[in-house]
Subunit: 330 residues, 4 copies
């Protein structure tokens, strides 16, 4: 049994905590949160202790920590935890600044401890299966990746100002998926973006609608588009076109019910948001991390994956600002 | 060029006439109809003459006749036409009375002329392809056929009284499809029926909602259901379950457009009725008939196919009336 | 917290036990099983005691029992448990003999304790949603119900001999669904059945392919078909046709991945079998039972629902044996 | 009856000629083609004369000409025909050079004759319906257009050299669709392209895989992607995301047949190529042209639409060559 400490008892912390409890291979030992009530409620429900983050990191009875606290605490907590000999799972991103990420990853490397970054979408059963089929050669060499990703509704402008902007906050997941699906690093980034959904987002200095083209050294192309709003649920789809076929993964409807009337055939909206859409992904993600900790193997996606996605987000942000493509080293 | 005479310039006659004109292998020579205007309009549009039915049947410049006149004229016209040495295509049914059909088919057999019955659905590209795959062994031996067939809206009760009833007028198409898909003759018929759509139909002595079970000697089962009303268009589907797979054929939507909104995902209704749904089937059906006339091969479905479907319709009618299954000779 | 005892630690018992553990409203106190290892493994995993069935039924620290033991023990265990003042959830069927069920239900009624029967499909999110829409009037009055239900592969003939036969063992779920969807009791049952899948099943006196027509007093029709084999997974679908629309519920594919190649577009098979297909249904089912126990309301489906489905299965068995329809009292 | 002359009896000329014949509102008077046999065969089949292109343009018994000859003849023929007082339908493009198009359109404007350009996709029933729903406000203001367009297989490199390149030869249709769907002119074009399908295309100086981002003055975004190869048929899809919904139009499968086996559920490939996929579009397109000629209204898409699409293709070509976005005047 792997003994787990949880840093952060918010929405995503509660998901991971519950998944530890039913994993069959780990035990949730302690929970920390700046809000005492949140920590206590979660700990009680799952039979764990409440401790401070420092105490969890220092604890002799804890093998691994899950970092689900605010973004600006991630890098410091990762460094402290790996120095204390803990295996670490951290929600994305390590930091909004690529230089800070690099410094943190050097500490992780020096520690020899495993670090996994929470790009949950890689573990979605459909997305993971699509990639397995690409790797199995079912569509031949990949030529073009198309990722369509839309949130159900925009965040408040106040959130936007501390988010790093759409490319770093929202599209970063798609940059990771593009790398996952292309199987090759992008070297060129063209971004186009607008504020069409909420003028408050524009006033806060961000965009809410964006499209990006990525190109790899061998000429593979990825197109990613984002909107902060979709009336029909959380829209999460991609398709990968290869030399001998195409593989795609679609949305999951709320139910399979179809109504036929004089207006035609109507099926359900997509799942409302990420907690429902990626429930199975979160279970599989944690299972992968726990398996790696148990086996002593390196988890994936790694800190390096986190850094590369961040650099693509930075490049897209710059491309949008300058109106010109940005070249990256492969 | 096969020289064609058309008996009947109503809705279905106009379809066949136009298909002759664009077939590339036949020429429409003459049109007959009890309504002079209908005959003249169609003849003008397609560059044909107006003649009487008798004149068309007797004509030396006509090789084949298409019988699209009212049902109660079919058997007499078939007999006259084959006696005059014409190849005959006749809309279903030959007659509402099986004995009359048998007598007519004896005349046809004696004449040596080809007779094809217009079970158009066999020529629907999707239905025909489904059967090709069954014959190719893609689903293994057939075990169960499910046919769902619903008209968009009920006919007037006045029509019902001279139609022979739902089983002979509407489900007869499905009996033919069941035989087409089972590949074996049914020997047992269980019918259940109700009047749920229009009390006027019940008052006219008919039903508007019905389900039938057919069983073959080897134990294969077909289930057919009909309704005289479907809010979402002309509903025409089947699925065939076999030992190693299932093949199904679905409705054709009006367009492929899909709208996604907060209410979910909505696609178009099915095609409104048979003229749209089976437009391609009518073309393929006529093409088959013309090809058989050109090659001197026997067209299919034959008069015998028409008779067998009629006997299943009679059996279903009897089963509904008696509340007991009806056994047929294989 | 409702204190729960589990009788039976087999495949379905483990499902319910796990769902108690994560329910948030109940605690699994004890597990019983004739196989000591099975009981111990499950109890250990879920933090419960191992006790005998008798001890669980008699226990003062247990409020409700879940009966997941072999069918021939159900009626006796239900009677003992309700007499001991326990709320009871029992997997279907109460018994294979309708008379024994009636006797058992009299004991339950006398006890005043709640009894819920495990017709899990009513709690499938899609099936339940379809019914909600029917009740909301979205398709108008129900006219025809079509249920297609196929197991992925046949059970061994040895199972068949003690199962009560296909109608009582497999189609009973569909009889319950037909009642659930029709909203009115069937009064007429026509069954047709064959042995097409496995001759060993025929040798054991049972069938593996069957179709049934049900008719209610007001003329509504249900058609149910079953096969003991489906190459493409566990096939569980229905559609309900009403005066103003149709509602259907489809299979759940393993993933949403679609591959497009020269062979066309290919999506995943259906979920392999009931544990995967109805995972969400089992959670919702238990949640309903626990909610009723907590609130003191009557759970549904009730013992009476179990009895009515059993009588339809008996009627279908008789109809198949006699080759004639069977009439039931409404 | 509008009297029509056809210039060009190749693949697309035969389509238009046949559609004239069955239009009910026009008569095909004469056909011209550099290949005498092609002209004669088509004229015979459709009951028309064979004449030279000059004779058709000069003819007093012809009202309208359809220009289906090679691209490099289009501008000259348009000018001659409008000067001779003919209504003109011309396949795209007017010319590969935007300056030549502008000169030609000045001649057309001076003549007062109608000119329609053959952007057939606007008349696809599904695409046209999607736009009707956008105009009807069903998805709110348009925010992002995504067009996916792939040919079934690459043309020979010899074709590529005289085609003007992928952006002018293939993507020009998508530029027209983007304008059609955006409802606003793009002012910014980013192109990324590669040669991944056939090295011979690269050797001929062209690309076979490309993606383009367009942005309008108000910030609407369109993303277009093309490949010269798709294993699963002619891939022609788009989706339009708006403030309150999304509308999409999908491929048309060859049939509606679905096969379910242990490998999953398989449906047909998309229609093989444009003749099948856009058969209904070609009929509707000609019908629109004939209707405009009959009514004296201006047909759409106009020569100006042809010019604007060409300018987008030029801009995309330049953007690909320079690696930088190209700005256009609105």
């Amino acid at each position: 049994m792997i003994r787990v400490g949880l840093l952060g008892a918010g929405r995503i912390g509660r998901i991971h905590g519950g998944n530890v409890a039913v994993s069959g291979r780990a035990r949730l030992v302690a929970v920390a949160d700046a809000l005492a009530d949140a920590a206590r409620d979660l700990a009680t429900a799952l039979g764990a202790d409440v401790r401070s983050a420092d105490a969890i990191i220092a604890a002799a009875d804890i093998d691994a920590v899950l970092i689900c606290s605010p973004t600006d605490t991630h890098a410091d907590l990762i460094e402290a935890a790996v120095r204390a000999g803990k295996a670490v799972f951290c929600e994305k991103p390590v930091d909004l600044d690529a230089g800070r990420i690099e410094a943190c990853l050097r500490v992780v490397a020096a520690s020899g401890q495993p670090l996994m970054i929470g790009f949950n979408r890689r573990f979605d059963p459909s997305f993971a299966e699509a990639r397995r089929r690409i790797l199995a050669g079912e569509i031949g060499p990949v030529e073009m990746v198309t990722i369509l990703s839309r949130d159900p509704s925009p965040p408040p402008p106040s959130y936007v100002t501390r988010s790093g902007g759409l490319f770093r906050d929202m599209m970063i997941h798609d940059f990771d998926m593009a790398r996952f699906l292309l199987g090759e690093e992008p070297v060129e980034v063209h971004a186009v973006a607008s504020c069409l959904v909420d003028p408050g987002i524009g006033a806060a200095g961000d965009v809410d609608t964006a499209a990006v083209l990525l190109k790899t050294a061998s000429g593979k192309i990825a197109q990613i588009s984002n909107s902060r709003r979709a009336s029909y649920g959380y829209d999460q789809r991609f398709e990968v076109h290869g030399a001998t076929g195409m593989v795609s993964a679609r949305n999951v409807p709320v139910t399979t019910v179809e109504i036929a009337t004089v207006a035609g055939f109507r099926t359900d909206p997509a799942q409302p948001f990420f907690l429902e859409r990626y429930a199975a992904a979160y279970r599989a993600e944690l299972d992968h991390f726990l398996g790696c900790v148990a086996d002593g193997t390196a988890p994936s996606p790694s800190g390096e994956d986190g850094l590369k996605a961040q650099k693509l987000a930075d490049a897209a942000t710059l491309s949008h600002q300058t109106g010109a493509p940005v070249r990256l080293k492969a």
